[in-house]
Amino acid sequence: MAGRVSRRHMLKLGAAALGGVLAGCTPEVVKETVVVRQTVEVEKEVEKIVEKEVTTVVEKEVEKVVEKVVTATPVVREVTVKFMIWGGDAEKRAWQARYDMFREKHPEIRVATTYPPGNYQEKLTAMIASGTAPDVFVPQHLRLDVPRGILLPLDAYMEADTDFNMDDFIPGTLDRGKYQGVQYAIPGGLGPQVIFWNVDFFKEAGLESPNELHEKGQWTPEKFLEYALKLNKKEGDIYTRFAYLFYGLDHMEFLYQMGSPTFDHPNYTKCLFDDKTREIWQWTADLINVHHISPLPEEVGAFGSWAGFRDGKYAMYISGPWNQARLTTMQWQWDVAWPFQTSDGAPCVQAGLGGTSVYSLTKLPWESYLWAANNESAEGQAVWAGLGFDIPSRQSLIEKYNSGEMFTDQKAKPPSVDVWYKAAAVAKPQFNGWVLPQTWTVFQTAWGTVKSGEKTAAEAMDDQFIKDMNATLSGV
């Protein structure tokens, strides 16, 4: 009886062996120790049965199975980091290039990228509120998001990551991702606002290059207006080309270019509501209403935004470097130039809201960090910059960028590419980088009434406006 193997014994043995095989082969096994512990347990179980009831022949078979399980290479689990970002086709190509680079270094980490069609922050908020947030995303606002506890502090990860050379960053650039001294985001490249100008249109009108005027200290608001009036084009009563497009921050750049003080917290009150700001508002609104060098609010739709510049409907517009990538198909010669400014003025920085952050409740903090860090590594920034987007914030890349070597698509490189770093060196941080969304709405609504000509700057910046601004700025 002891030497016989019954059908029941065979079934037990088979089940035990199968368990051992499954324990060794399951794709969910993460760490080697887990595999070994499971296989050893299975081995013991199998051995007991073998000792008790199984013949020598069967023992050999079991030994084979156990040996196979123990010597099996542990399977590395592939994980997927969820990432949400915005962007059109050009950005999608750039993110894909970064991802390809990332996969070479980390084949075990996949990144599933979502590009929501508009309303990025609302979608993100709903996802966070419902517990389905992506692992990596662009935070709305560090001042809001950190107290809410939705961002993972990254200092420890950055220190543990030997590949992430923090010393390479231009001093101060990483600070844009800090809140109260703690790193919550890894900021992207630099983003000063400069003028994109149509070289052919300027030549056609017999105008000098804005960069040459800047070198001579003559690229002033007055000169800008003089040039703009010459660049406007009409057929009968209909404008077929406007000299300038207000873009991105709308009129914010002009405030800095014409010498307004920096709107930094907590000095906003005296910076925002002084007579100089009112004067600049009025001068800027007059460009639209009186001189009509830029479309009225109701005319913007017909001319488009950056695509209008590409299509020759504007002679100039102001933007950050990311729009270089969109102008590769433009039929006219284009370039970048210093924005006009007064003697006490400076360009404005639009980028710098904080870069990408990691969700505090992510189940993949390290992998998520790796993806966020990858994008701002020297290689990641080079990929992004090479396609014509942000200018790198890593010192090791400046020379290569300025020489034009970094551009993988030479059509995205403007002749005066070095203007970017020069402007960045003196640019002031943007206003809406730290104010709450409601403050920005109040500010923009008041500006809208001036821009449309319904109110003068003095009327729009009345006591109620100042009261509302102060209340929203203080977080009421």
Binding site: E122, I128, R148, L296, P297, E298, G301, A302, T449, K467
Partner: protein, 323 residues
């Protein structure tokens, strides 16, 4: 004691467990079974969130952190804004804009829909085709139609401006100016004939023909027939459409969100758009919920008002007034 005895149920009159009683029980069970999906959905998706939003309205809450109880503070802020309007809550501004919109939109939409229904009530060939055509705007997504209208209303190069230019008039800027934006939205909102027209059409078709024949014999003209037969006979439909339209218009959102974003200078900042803005843009769900509950009270009050007035002007066939 005797009174208690007088209303006490007579147990002897309970349905015996006969075949009829069992059938009734079975019907009851079936009733609850069939109504259960709706009831569960209502409790989870409507009643639950409503009760929660009532609680939220007494708190400050940004979705991410725990709500903090503030009692009536949010309601007090709204009340205060009625007397000292500001951009901090935009309560009085959005209420004003929505009220004007409702006052203009509700009667105009009803008139337009009634006229549409009267047109479609004619006895001509191909009427089903015309009815389908007239109803088709209702099934077009509002986003799609808004995109088309935005293009048509473009100041520079839009169809309306081109037409005006042909007449020697300048480009229109109606949608982009504070003084004209709201009225323009009313005009754009009248474009679609919807369910109101269908109700009017059904009402018109249910008016007995002999009433018109009798009126004609008595020498009534077209206007008199409309005034003394059509309108009274349609009054229940008018009443229904009025209540529904008022409720819907007070909750208008799409047109402002899609065409103007509430601007310029809050000229089209509808009440529900304001709730949305404070909730999803500023993450102030406490005050947003308070506004939502105030809206409920406003709509309820207006509906009650219309209901109370209905006895004076709504005529139900077969009803004898004064009983």
């Amino acid at each position: 004691m005797s009174a208690v005895q007088a209303v006490a149920p007579d147990k002897s009159r309970r349905p015996a467990k006969t075949g009829l009683g069992r059938m009734r029980l079975r019907e009851e069970r079936e009733f609850y079974l069939f109504v259960a999906p709706w009831l569960v959905g209502f409790l989870i998706w409507t009643a639950g969130p409503m009760i929660y939003s009532l609680y939220i309205s007494f708190t400050t809450w940004d979705v991410f952190t725990k709500p903090v109880w503030v009692g009536l503070q949010n309601y007090a802020t709204l009340w205060h804004d009625l007397f000292e309007p500001s951009q901090l809550v935009l309560f009085s501004q959005s209420l004003k804009v929505t009220t004007i919109y409702t006052v203009l939109m509700v009667p105009l939409r009803m008139i337009v829909n009634l006229l549409g229904a009267m047109l479609l009530n004619q006895r001509i060939r191909g009427m089903p085709f015309f009815r389908a055509v007239f109803y088709s705007p209702t099934v077009i997504p509002s986003v799609a139609s808004a995109l088309v209208w935005t293009w048509i209303m473009q100041s520079n190069g839009g169809l309306v401006s081109i037409f005006l230019n042909k007449l020697g008039l300048p480009n229109q800027t109606w949608l982009y100016r504070s003084k004209t934006a709201l009225v323009t939205l009313v005009g754009l909102g009248l474009w679609g004939f919807g369910s109101q027209m269908l109700f009017f059409l059904a009402g018109l078709q249910s008016i007995p023909e002999h009433l018109y024949e009798a009126a004609k014999i008595d020498g009534a003209g077209q206007w008199q027939q409309f005034r003394y037969i059509t309108v009274p006979m349609l009054s229940p439909v008018i009443f229904y459409n009025l209540v529904m339209s008022m409720m819907g218009t007070f909750q208008a959102f799409d047109s402002a969100f899609l065409y103007t974003g509430g601007g310029p200078n809050y000229a089209t900042h509808f009440y529900v758009l304001n709730i949305y803005t404070f909730g999803w843009r500023y993450f102030k769900f406490g005050i947003a919920s308070a506004m939502a509950w105030v809206l409920l009270v406003i709509i309820l009050a207006m509906t009650m008002l219309v209901l109370r007035s209905s006895s004076a002007w709504v005529y139900y066939e077969g009803e004898v007034k004064g009983r």
